[in-house]
Amino acid sequence: MKIFKKFIFFIIALIVLIAVLIINLKTGLRALNVIGFSFKEMALVLPPLFILLGLLDVWVPKEKMIRYMGEGSGIKGIILAIIIGSVAAGPLYAAFPVAASLMRKGVKFTNILIFIGAWSTTKVPMLLFEISALGARFAMTRLAIDIIGIIIIAYVLYVIVSKREVKELYYKAGNL
């Protein structure tokens, strides 16, 4: 029963896929094709990512991470969060486990939100891609607004969310 509950989302997705295959075979096959690609992407990106997170968990002392990215890390912490998010590879959902690791290491909440923002918008491989498709002017303008935007969004979220909720989140991250 517990396993069923764990996989319920996947089971629903599977049923939808079967329905699509029945309704429109061509679309269903295209979906399978994309799913295959995503699996390949996942298989390429996730192993080194999770191993690096495991190493981070075990080797880097919490005090050190707090000094660089924790409370009172100031602008240094913000810049580090943007850099870590920008050099990342992989889709946004791969950023969430990284965020949990950062929580365990006592990284400041706004810096974690900035990291998530950077991962979604300022990733270097994506940016190079964007320049080749839409031009440097488009990409650089977007980059400039997004860097400001993700910092603002991070602080707005920080104001909205209560200290207690953040504490709970950090506590839960210990078990993820």
Binding site: V20, A31, F50, L55, D57, R137, L176
Partner: protein, 167 residues
Amino acid sequence: MGQVFNYIFNGLLYLVCIVFLIISFSKSREKTKKSLIKAWKSFENILPLLLGVIFLVGILIAVLNTQVISKLIGSSSGFLGVLISSAIGAITLIPGFIAFPTAALLLENGGGYMQIAAFISSLMMVGIVTLPMEFKYFGKKISIARNILAFLFSFLVAFVISKVMEL
């Protein structure tokens, strides 16, 4: 072309990982083992949701292919176009190798920079399909608030980019 950048970065990720693993192993076998167990545990933890997300994203991308997206966005301009663009971008997380060529195609077919910027921006920052995963790590309230803020922000991005591109 864009795919090549991804492969280069992926290769670098492996390189960094292997170097650190070797250093870790030479320093402590025990700690390295512990790291790998932790890595596996956190992967196992996310796997069920990840499978669901990958399937749903695949279905959505198959339904919303390049033609459908350009038809939806291309046919309407102005604010409505921006609204539709960011709404499509918000539903799912489309990989760059589909998103950017789609955007370039839209541009060729007379789509405005404002719509394309709204599409790209909400595509990157807003993810409704991936919400279940975000809930797991950030809780419902923060995840929903983050996605709404990012959605609204994509309008601002659209506006600024359209102004800059007109210069």
